[in-house]
Symmetry: C2
Subunit: 408 residues, 2 copies
């Protein structure tokens, strides 16, 4: 029998879906499972987007051009230029989700063995895409004590070698929710220009910034244009994860030409999605006002109730819809399995994503979990109560929890 590739054998499995079997089993046993483990919001997709799908009007479901329809790219230009990105349609390639944009960005810019610095914890699937391109991820540690803010410039400098080609950030951050400040973005700019590095920026959560804080894109920083590759998706923005519609943006014409060849090889992104995407750009502002109010409420519930549990530490992040919290447990992965398998509170339990999968250095995230506040306030409250009760009885509970913070 022919054997699979070493590339396939070594390919990292997704940590986010790792505990799915235990959750399924819990459900079969009649437990209600609160899913705080995934980034699939329960927010409704805007009605105008769904209407656009229902109103499609064509006889032939045809390829679009590889870079995306001109109509959709025009709409995207109008969307991004509201954020002062200063784009033309030629700066955008429409992709199959943000996933494909990451993949194309890596292939277009990076060769096997090239190094890319990423603040960790980071979105676990970056590992998978780097593995596909044989790109080496060099993590730089962001810490819970600093609310997972950008690590100091000096930490980046220590990691830069002749092979370093890019810094990759996610802003606002998945998994930590951290929203980078203007100063942090300026620090990145200085680094990128000094060492001639690409800045890859995953902006999937751009619209979700709280407390009146401003989102800063690297494309907002004059003089950095040639270094920046933006990765975006409509998945979270319009609660349309299943659309698989994203884009790659760059004003660097060589990168664009390189990326386009990869895009042409896979022919095109979806046609219906691009039609729906056009409609999405016209989503009324009230949709976002409502969604942001809702997420702000949920964040408050989640962060406040987590910090009220003895030994739990949870920053109050400025964006996205995730938090990474530290739990008073021996091993968060064990705990996440235990709470599904061996625990219930009033026949309910919680699924969380162990944070270790978001770290290259798995030890660093050993007591942390990522929680997505993608459930309504009522369910969220019940889920945290479950978690609280579980922490009271979990056999691997740590007592001297405050020490963790000091020592971490």
């Amino acid at each position: 029998m022919p054997q699979i590739s070493k590339k396939g054998f070594d390919m990292p499995a997704s940590p986010i879906r790792k505990l799915s079997a235990f959750a399924e089993k819990a459900k079969l046993e009649g437990k209600k499972v609160y899913h705080l483990n995934i980034g699939q919001p329960d927010i409704e997709t805007p009605a105008n987007v769904i209407a656009a799908i229902k109103n499609v009007d064509f006889k032939i479901w045809a390829y679009t051009s590889s870079e995306g329809t001109i109509a959709y790219r025009n709409k995207l230009v109008s969307y991004y230029n509201k954020f002062d990105y200063n784009l033309t349609v030629n700066d955008i390639i429409v992709t199959t989700g943000g996933s494909e944009a990451i993949n194309i960005a890596m292939m277009a810019c990076l060769d096997a063995g090239d190094e890319i610095i990423i603040p960790e914890p980071f979105y676990a699937n970056y590992n998978g895409f780097a593995h596909q391109s044989n790109v080496v991820i060099v993590p730089v540690m962001s810490v819970i004590e600093n609310d997972f803010g950008l690590p100091p410039v000096s930490d980046f400098k220590k990691l830069i070698t002749t092979k370093t080609r890019a810094i990759f950030i996610c802003n606002p951050n998945n998994p930590t929710g951290y929203l980078y400040s203007m100063q942090e973005m300026q620090d990145l700019k200085v680094l990128a220009l000094k060492y001639d590095l690409f800045i890859f920026c995953d902006e999937a959560y751009r619209e979700f910034c709280y407390d009146g804080k401003t989102f800063i894109s690297p494309l907002n920083l004059p003089g950095l244009e040639e270094n920046v590759v933006i990765i975006d998706t409509i998945s979270k923005r319009y609660s349309a994860c299943g659309a698989r519609l994203g884009c790659l943006i760059t004003k660097n014409k060589s990168v664009m030409a390189s990326a386009l060849k990869f895009a042409q090889t896979r022919l095109s992104a979806g046609m219906v999605e691009q039609i729906a995407g056009e409609a999405a750009v016209d989503t009324p502002d009230s949709y976002f006002t409502n969604v942001i109010n809702e997420y702000t409420l949920r964040r408050k519930i989640l962060v406040d109730s987590l910090n009220a549990i003895e030994g739990v530490i949870c920053p109050n992040p400025g964006g996205a819809f995730y938090v990474v919290a530290q739990l008073p447990v021996d091993d968060a992965e064990k705990f996440c399995q235990w709470i599904l398998e061996d625990f219930n509170y009033e026949n309910q339990t919680v699924m969380m994503a162990p944070a270790a999968g978001f770290y290259s250095n798995h030890e660093a995230g050993k007591q942390q979990v990522r929680l997505a506040y993608v459930l309504n306030a009522n369910d969220l409250t019940k889920a945290i109560e479950c978690l609280k009760q579980a922490l009271l009885v979990y056999p691997g509970k740590l007592i001297k929890t405050k020490k963790i913070r000091i020592l971490a």
Copy 2:
């Protein structure tokens, strides 16, 4: 300014879309351009598929599972098992078009430097996907004199090295339209088992077989199950190229486990597409009867009129909707550009795909073009008349055309 990757620099551009700029220019000059260059059929998508899009009924456009929805995979099982594939849902991963299935198959099975033998001419984008995975394509020549049938087994054997891991065929073939016989498939089976090779089979054109000929999948050959990876797409079957919905099929559990990790990294295929895909499987047989009658008619018009032109040689292929024809010209790429740029017949001209892009050895296809019979009989007739008139006056016309056949 940071530089793009060598991988991006060396990435082959798509030969199919290469002449697009000249076609656009011709149109701007007011010429009617007949597009015989692309595999985008003018056949209407089945009404039931479009109705399924228009009838979507959900509030949240959500991720599906990475392997595809159970509902769609169940439908696919019923479709494939009509062809005796003997599948279960666990043998299928739903992909974003056939393109992604090719990409995942290569990554799951092949490492950098591994060799894959492909009869040439072959679908040009295989080059792009192989390049992405650093897989080495080793072409084995199929020749127009043999109607582009499978090259002799002895030719394959000469090319097999310790690095050979797979043979990749497209059946019915793009670009040649050739439909492999049972004997040819058996030859491939013997090779695969003897040398422990994967058989990758791109079956995008499965439904388009003519003259009552039978389609044979490698999954129809008992004893070969562990070696086979099928790549499929609904693009051509239901004239739904813009759906970007395909699948990877294998009964080899290690390959499936490896492929699933790549699928999980990109989260899921499109949700609306999978809903439409379910409906597609229920497309009435009459749709295919009509389509096959239409393609049979067009093929006859195309093949007969091409062979009636002095110096043109065109096999009569058993499947798909392409032919590769040999023209009495010095260089088909020059000719294809010239006919767009410097020629018109009654203000009409023709866009064709130079076949050189479908060969690793570009010289081998230097006098050949791929023509897709994706236009109706009337337009097709006019297009061939254009081509005929063009060949009368093309400055690079070859006189001793019959010699080409003998010498080729």
